[in-house]
Amino acid sequence: MKTTTSIIAALSFAALSAAPVLAQETIKLGAPLALTGPLADAGAKSKQGYDICVSAVNDKGGVDVGGKKMKLELVEYDYQSETNRAVQIVQRLINVDKVPFLLSPYGSGDTKATAVVAERYGVPMVAAAAATKSVFDQKFQNLFGVLFPNDMITEAEVAYYKKHVPSVKRVAVLALNSLFPKAIAGEMVKSATGAGLDVVFNTTYSPDTSDFSNVLTQIKGLNPDWIYATGYTQDLILIRRQMADLGLEVKVLTMTAGPSYPEFKENVKSLAENVTTNSWWHQNANYSDNYLFGSSLKYNEAFNAKFKRDATYLEAAATAACQTLAMAIEEAKSTSADAVRKVLHEKTFNTFYGPIHYGQLGQNEVNAALVMQIQNDKLLVLAPENLKQGELQIGVPKK
């Protein structure tokens, strides 16, 4: 009896909540999400990014498709962080749910595998978490990426430190052996060598490494001016602590992307001072946005009100992926894939995330790489010049 009641209750609730959606035609956005499995944390962040976009667009009445207001509807499934399942879910979204547009799964690998399916059906797919160039180099017509390529970040960093600390000559690069850290470390080596710096150390470490003293001792012996470490936040916390234990001093210490997250500061405390980092996006780089949120800061306020914490580039990119789709549909005055795809390729979208231009290759071409540093417990933007909030502090505290 109890079961029957709860089933009836559930059904009536479903009917009630579905009613307003059914009353008007919606635009479905298909989203394979990594809600469980090893990518669950990142998957949950992507979902928050999509959710805030959908609710913000719907709160202002929906997307204006040639005078007709249409609400957005997110059709989502958990792909359990498994590539094969992500492919299966994209098939489902296209064939069963008939979504006209897709948002990509998390990470470069899963994005690429599902993009093949989207390309086959001609369904535009916007990727919020794929920055590696090789994902976009097969000239797919239906894949668009919000994050600009990794090398734009490292180029911006090398140029900045070369200008502000001319004495930086010797660079040591340490990266986690995983797709993204390895790719960005590779770009870093290229950018540094290209700018005439001497890469004295370049090594990867295996996932789950807990003792870096060996590798840090080697680095210390090489006496570098600039250490560039990239990996998971947990690894970077360990590296920063063990650097202090070994008394390893350096003019510039860059860590990607740990210092952007509050966990880093909370764990290394005063050792976080003067650590530099980079990012695709930060609310402090305040772009204005006439379509949805107003500005980067206002986006972060809205995000904070809803999820009780600050947004990182991950959630912001997810929101931006969804927002550019909505803007493209409005501009195209149609929900047809061909019309929207054309706008996505051609238009420059001015969003809270910064300007986005997908261009012919599909990957955002606008370089808005941020160089940032933790100073007095705050994360400040150092470059680009027009967003600057502080001057570079050289050297990191010993203890």
Partner: protein, 331 residues
């Protein structure tokens, strides 16, 4: 080869089942074709594992090493311009060679040592794929040429290719089941020393079975690679799958012709069900269910008779399987 009526019926039933599966490709939509492709892939891997794990009774946890090797061999061949079907054949060949090289040292180990050795191969291969950038593209991944054609054609093509491979694996299993080779493997499972005493070249038989498993696993991997058109180490050498495949076969019945099929299908259904109802706890609950099922059904679904079911329902204290059953399934 021994063919009796029961065996002929089993084969006829299997052929009919596969014929129905192939016929379904004309009516299913692409999503269900994709689900069917995954199911056929898992069943092919289960049948492949069943030769070493079921008939021979060696706890091999390296199914995904074969799968990944095949995926990369086929992927690299295709990226170098080799045609798709030839790349699959090359992958099968590479799988055989790899199984031979891996089998010669590993098959001298037994029991837990063998299991640990085989599971280490998955980790080692993933690290190799991660680091050998010139060949595998490293952690950045490897792009394959995309199979041309409309979504419907492509969906049907890979469904039929995978189904065809599963059928091949089924036929090979049937052959193994009824030939001297299979008999030798069963002898090895029961008592290796005794098998060698009666004149079975134990080491040759073991390596032979390992190579057969390797060929099938690698071919499955190559077809998967062509379908996904993008490979990365974490996807090709998936540690969870290397454990899931033996679990599926155990669920269905090890060392039987239909065990892998029944196990594969029921595990997938079970997994879907648990995942749909316990989204946050699914891994834990699935693990518990698997342990429970193996505990109560040590010889798999196929080892169950109606009498057993009634006996179990009647007397709950006799739910622990007879020791002879356990010996049969694990030795």
């Amino acid at each position: 080869m021994i063919i009796d009526r029961a065996f002929a019926l089993k084969i006829a039933f299997g052929v009919l089942l596969f014929a129905c599966g192939a016929g379904l490709s004309a009516v299913l939509d692409n999503y269900y074709l994709q689900v069917g492709t995954t199911l056929a892939m898992l069943c092919a891997l289960c049948w492949a594992w069943n030769i070493v794990g079921g008939y021979m009774g060696y706890p091999a946890l390296c199914m995904i090493s074969f799968f990944g090797i095949g995926a990369y061999a086929g992927g690299i061949a295709q990226a170098a311009g080799v045609s798709e079907s030839l790349a699959w054949l090359i992958a099968a060949g590479v799988g055989a060679l790899f199984a031979l090289l891996l089998g010669v040292p590993l098959l001298r180990l037994k029991g837990h040592y063998f299991a640990v050795g085989t599971i280490a191969s998955v980790e080692v291969l993933r690290e190799v794929a991660n680091n050998w950038e010139q060949l595998t593209g490293g952690a950045v991944g490897l792009n394959l040429p995309i199979h041309a054609g409309s979504p419907d054609e492509v969906g049907r093509f890979f469904y039929l290719a995978m189904l065809g491979l599963a059928f091949l694996a089924f036929l090979i299993t049937a052959l193994v089941d009824r030939t001297k080779f299979g008999f030798g493997l069963r002898c090895i499972r029961q008592n290796e020393q005794a098998a060698s005493m009666v004149g079975i070249d134990v080491f040759k038989y073991k390596v032979g079975a390992f190579v057969l498993t390797g060929v099938l696993g690698a071919a499955t991997g190559a077809i998967y690679a062509s379908m996904v058109a993008f490979l990365e180490p974490k996807d090709a050498f998936n540690l969870i799958m290397t454990i899931e495949i033996p679990v599926m076969v155990m669920l269905g019945g090890m060392g039987t012709i239909f065990g892998p099929l029944i196990g594969g299908v029921s595990y997938v259904i079970l997994k879907e069900f648990v995942w749909a109802y316990f989204i946050n706890w699914h891994s834990g609950i699935l693990g518990l269910i698997v342990v429970t099922v193996i505990y109560f059904l040590p010889v798999g679904v196929l080892g169950l008779t109606w009498r057993d079911i009634f006996k179990k329902l009647g007397a709950s204290k006799s739910t622990r399987p007879a020791t002879s059953d356990i010996a049969r399934s694990t030795s």
